[in-house]
């Protein structure tokens, strides 16, 4: 059974600082997704990582995937208040014919001025 764990679960940081959110998973997969959720809102797709060594960047966010370590990271550079949200990683366990994503618990990020 695939397990997906994120850490930290809560992160409070100052504007302008850098930090990394980690997503570890327990079984083989090379398909991993990052989503953002604002309070009371739906989930928005951020990154799609589909191979070992994949790196995607959008603004101050960069995501990477190491399938051998079963680890993905979401790096925040020079954080700004607008990035405050909950971030989820989700892993596709590669069950033939179905995309049954398994989500991490989420990391609630608060960026303080």
């Amino acid at each position: 059974e695939l397990k997906v764990e994120q850490n930290p679960l809560f992160l409070s940081m100052q504007e302008g600082k850098n930090y990394t959110i980690y997503c570890n998973y327990s079984t083989t997969s090379d398909r991993l997704y990052w989503y953002r959720q604002d309070p009371g809102k739906s989930l928005e797709s951020l990154f799609v990582l589909l191979s070992n060594g994949a790196v995607k960047q959008e603004g101050r966010l960069m995501a990477s995937l190491d399938t051998k370590a079963r680890l993905s990271t979401l790096h925040i550079t020079a954080a700004v208040h607008d990035l405050s949200a909950t971030y989820f990683c989700a892993v596709d366990p590669l069950i033939q014919g179905a995309q049954k994503l398994v989500f991490g618990q989420g990391t609630r990020l608060t960026i303080n001025p």
């Binding site: 989930l43 618990q105 989420g106």
Partner: protein
Amino acid sequence: IAGITQAPTSQILAAGRRMTLRCTQDMRHNAMYWYRQDLGLGLRLIHYSNTAGTTGKGEVPDGYSVSRANTDDFPLTLASAVPSQTSVYFCASGFPAGGPQFFGPGTRLTVL
């Protein structure tokens, strides 16, 4: 319609009552999904459908049923609601071969 819609937005329901949550997409995605979101647990897959006419069980299917009569609609039914089904329910759609799933706005359900 643009994207995925869900109805109702929120609902308070007495235990034992039957409830159907509605989900409609206009993106012509083959696959649709129902998740529940509970604090500290992330999202958990309830049921999914890869194409019209087929459905499958997710991680937490007990107490829920789905149907997929056409490409656009994927209703979720609670036959006899229990308080542990209090949650926020998200419908999503995408392609079964891969790629991101796109989520609806959610339904907040409270079972008393």
